[in-house]
């Protein structure tokens, strides 16, 4: 990363996968076994998707049939990443399991997030005042999951706005985000039962340039004085420029981001802030669908696993430091290198 400012999402995007190239060939038997396990996992995660895609078809191919044929030159599985792979299986398994449990209809209890309760209130206030609602989905492209989560939250805001008949403005910094936002807002109007009130004009592209975008949005804020401002997505230095100007016009401001460096500014300048993981949970929470709520449970299971690793690891390390003879330090190092890759 080159500092929080000029991050180029595309570069980061490419870099992540290139590192996969430096793989080591390992004992073939092990690799094939692992690959079998993995393709089963991949397929397992694919199956519900496909099921959904074909409208809940009953049949699904048995997992093992799709195992790749043994290769000649390249390893099927990079054994260096076994720890990562197992961690991924555990976490994805927790999420999938929680979704399946949710489908059985058992009651799901999720604690309330104050910021979300405020969404309806903010839109309602804008309607009363006859002013618009501004939604800023961050400055990154759809290559950032935060933007995707932001667009999901937009769906709920747009639905409320459609119900109240409030004017919604979504300036975007990436044209693909504009496309996604239009789809989402249109869907929200359908869901609110008012498809006729939807039009494209409120959702438009400004410029990809970070500060060009901010200049336009802050200008718009000062001129049109929206009563409610939502900042949901990936933000960098512009966070405070937006939030301070929103404050100056007296708007209710609700922010959500997973960009740790910008959280302090949103926390200081906005009325409500969804901090990090809360933001992703919010996007699931707002949909109100059981599947999505289930996945929040899955996240919680993931956190429990992390906490368990930390507690056990620290206990072992402490024993190792106090009584070097027990060899507990060696166990911690082994755990570390297994998980750390």
């Amino acid at each position: 990363m080159t500092g929080p400012l000029h991050q180029n999402p595309r570069e980061r995007f490419v870099r992540g996968s290139r590192s996969a190239a430096g793989a080591v060939t390992v004992a073939m038997g092990m690799a094939t076994a692992a690959a079998l396990a993995m393709s089963a996992q991949a397929l397992a995660s694919a199956v519900p998707a496909m099921q959904d895609a074909v409208g809940g078809a009953e049949t699904a191919a048995p997992a093992a049939t799709a195992a790749p044929v043994a290769p000649v030159e390249l390893a099927l599985f990079n054994m260096d990443r076994l720890g990562l792979f197992l961690a991924m299986v555990l976490i994805c398994g927790a999420v999938i399991g929680a979704i399946l449990v949710a489908r059985t209809g058992r009651p799901l209890r999720i604690r309330k997030l104050a910021a979300l309760e405020a969404v309806d209130e903010a839109v309602g206030r804008a309607t009363e005042m006859g002013r618009s609602v501004l939604f800023v989905p961050g400055i990154q492209d759809m290559t950032d999951i935060q933007t995707v989560a932001g667009v999901t939250v937009l769906g709920r805001v747009a639905r409320t706005a459609a119900e109240y008949d409030a004017r919604l403005e979504v300036p975007t910094s990436r044209s693909i985000v504009m496309t996604a936002a239009r789809e989402t807002v249109q869907a929200a109007h359908f869901a609110a039962g008012r498809p006729e009130t939807y039009n494209d004009n409120g959702i438009y592209y400004i410029t990809d340039e970070q500060f060009g975008y901010v200049a336009a949005v802050t200008g718009k804020m000062v001129r049109e004085k929206p009563a409610a401002c939502f900042y949901m997505g990936a933000f960098y230095a512009e966070s405070l420029l937006l939030a301070e100007n929103g404050n100056a016009i007296g708007a209710i401001q609700i922010a959500g981001t997973a960009e740790p460096s910008q959280l302090p500014f949103f926390v200081a300048a906005c009325d409500y802030t969804l901090i990090g993981e809360e933001f992703f949970a919010a996007s699931a929470y707002l949909s109100g669908e059981r599947d999505q709520l289930g996945s929040i449970k899955g996240q919680d299971i993931g956190k429990l696993m992390v906490a368990a690793v930390i507690v056990i690891g620290c206990a072992l390390a402490t024993v190792g430091a106090l009584f070097p003879a027990t060899g507990a330090t060696g166990a911690v190092d082994a755990l570390r290198s297994f998980l750390g890759g």
Binding site: M1, T2, G3, P4, H6, S261
Partner: protein, 298 residues
């Protein structure tokens, strides 16, 4: 704050809380502009980190070969170039031989600038190839460091002018990073000081001293490495200013001294603006308390 009705007009202090923010803007503008216009310079009190950096460079025997990596670009030059200048002057004054390199594409130009404006300005006798060498930029981020940790000539086949390393006396004998007495990374993010710790220092923990200069924003990422892995650390313009004090105290220059004082020049606005911020926070709280005690709006 909302002004309340009824119990008379609120006190001056209570009204202060709802002051038009443009007065704050004006104060901020002045607190930065005036120190620049008046060239205000305040004495800096060198902190332990700046001292540690200075001592690390001093502790290496005279005539050692040091590596200075320019891991930043012009966007961060305002914060980092002052410390780079001071460090180059310090190393040369102490009699070290300097090898320049960059992990960021535009870092090379900034290194060239330091060579021209500081190294050759204050030490005109130094000769290229024996006293200093410019290796320039190589793509590959931490991969560059990884390879240098075992094989410098493999990573850098030539310097920026295309001369093979073997024909440059200063670097002809350098095999790996372990052959440097000290490595300094002046860094603005990824790749930078963190990667030097992870890939060079951990490969040869005892072989060389490692110091870094860092921007304010990424400081919290690097702090955990000081003082174990990093022997010294210069934090943002403030670190540069403190370090300049130490360097100038021991190795003063006669003319163009302002080139070694940029950090302190930029600290002028910093000090005034920070004081303003602190004052504003105090004022805001006084206003809140004053407003509350009069039973005003919250």
């Amino acid at each position: 704050m909302h002004e309340h009705n009824g119990s008379g007009s609120p006190s001056f202090l209570a009204r202060l809380g709802g002051i038009d923010r443009r007065w704050i803007f004006l104060a901020m503008g002045l607190s930065i502009a005036l120190p620049i216009l008046l060239k205000l310079r305040f004495p800096e009190y060198p902190g332990p980190m700046a001292k540690a950096t200075f001592d690390a460079i001093e502790s290496v025997p005279e005539g050692s070969t040091v590596l200075v990596a320019f891991d930043y670009d012009p966007a961060s030059a305002a914060e980092l170039q002052p410390m780079a200048n001071a460090m180059v002057h310090h190393c040369a004054s102490r009699g070290h031989k300097i090898v320049f390199m960059a992990l960021w594409p535009l870092g090379r130009q900034l290194a060239d600038k330091a060579i021209e404006e500081v190294l050759l300005e204050f030490h005109p006798g130094l000769r290229y190839g024996t006293d200093y060498v410019q290796l320039g930029y190589q793509a590959g981020n931490e991969g560059v460091i990884k390879l240098m940790a075992t094989n410098v000539p493999e990573q850098y086949k030539t310097d920026t002018k295309g001369t093979p390393l073997a024909s440059l006396p200063l670097v002809a004998q350098i095999k790996s990073t372990a052959d440097f007495a000290l490595i300094a990374s002046i860094s603005a993010g990824y790749p930078g000081a963190k990667e030097w710790v992870q890939f060079a220092e951990s490969a040869n923990p005892e072989a060389f001293k490692l110091v870094c200069g860092s921007t304010g924003v990424q400081v919290s990422q690097l702090l955990p490495y000081y003082p174990k892995q990093l022997d010294g650390m210069l934090v943002a313009v403030k670190g540069a200013a403190e370090y300049e004090m130490l360097v100038e105290g021991k190795y003063p220059v006669e003319k163009n001294a302002e080139r070694l004082g940029q950090g302190r020049v930029r600290m002028g606005p910093q000090l005034v603006a920070h004081m303003l911020m602190i004052g504003l926070i105090i004022l805001g709280n006084i206003a809140m308390v004053a407003g509350r005690s009069r039973g005003g709006a919250r």
